[in-house]
């Protein structure tokens, strides 16, 4: 049986890689992909804790997270399409409309 902290450490590393991706990359689509990966890291840790505690509700939470992530991706990509239609860019540095 694999100790739970192996999974928690893997989830932590993946989450940190996702954070670095969000901060470092300038392509808004890759930024969005990094956010999805952070969600996945959190899901992995949730399932690992559900297994450690033998509590099925942890898996139910992950199910809801996946559903919300799917809806979020649909709306987020629609927003990116709308931004691209008006501003012709996917670079976050060019999206400065709210800058004071």
């Amino acid at each position: 049986m694999i100790p739970t902290y192996y999974y928690v450490a893997l989830g932590a590393i993946m989450f940190a890689i996702g954070v670095i991706g969000v901060l470092v990359r300038r392509n808004v689509l890759v930024t969005f992909m990094s956010v999805e990966m952070m969600l996945n890291a959190a899901n992995l840790v949730l399932v690992a804790f559900a297994f450690a505690r033998q509590d099925i509700l942890g898996q139910v939470i992950v199910f809801f997270v996946i559903v919300v992530a799917a809806a979020e991706v649909a709306v987020g990509l629609a927003l990116l399409m709308a931004i691209f239609r008006t501003r012709q860019t996917t670079n976050v540095d060019d999206m400065t409309l709210l800058k004071g």
Binding site: M1, I17, I20, N27, E36, I56, A71, V73, L77, N91
Partner: protein
């Protein structure tokens, strides 16, 4: 045996994650993300979550990655990072702070009493058990989720309407 599967899958997942962030081409990023999602699906099997294994492959590896690839190719956004960074000092700072976050997360992750479970309960992780929890303890969130998806569908349709169609 189980540890070997975990080690290989974890290595694949981390490779996919790092390669996704480092790829210059957004299409490659999406494909590396697919690799990462598939590896996590295998880890769900190791954690006795066959239902989530299937959901992960269908929703993430199937629907979400296809959506990403579709939008990347539609926008022609594969290579849109040529110009110089507007704030050059941001990237090294972000890298340092990300590594700091990783260190903090690992300290917390490895300090708790997080051993392996003593044993696996009979029927743990079976789709029947998840369905029972979903339709009893989590019935209200389940219903709210339906509203959320409806709102998402309506929102996407509204976002794609042309100005003159909105009336």
């Amino acid at each position: 045996m189980e540890l070997a599967v975990f080690a290989i899958t974890a290595a694949v997942a981390l490779t996919g994650a790092v390669a996704m962030v480092l790829s210059k081409n957004a299409v490659h990023s999406a494909l590396f993300l697919l690799l990462n999602f598939s590896a996590i699906a295998v880890l769900y099997l190791l954690l006795r979550a066959p239902f989530l294994f299937a959901i992960q492959l269908i929703v993430y590896a199937g629907a979400i990655i296809v959506l990403f690839l579709f939008v990347v190719m539609l926008l022609g956004a594969e290579r849109h990072e040529e110009g110089a960074d507007a704030l050059g000092w941001q990237q090294p700072t972000a890298l340092v702070m990300g590594i700091g976050l990783l260190a903090a997360l690992l300290v917390v992750a490895l300090s708790g009493p997080l051993g392996a479970p003593a044993g696996v309960a009979e029927g743990y992780g079976a789709p029947e058990a998840i369905a029972r929890a979903l339709f009893t303890d989590a019935l209200l969130p389940f219903q709210v989720t339906a509203m959320l998806i409806l709102a998402a569908i309506v929102g996407v349709v509204v976002l794609h309407l042309r100005e003159q169609q909105r009336g």
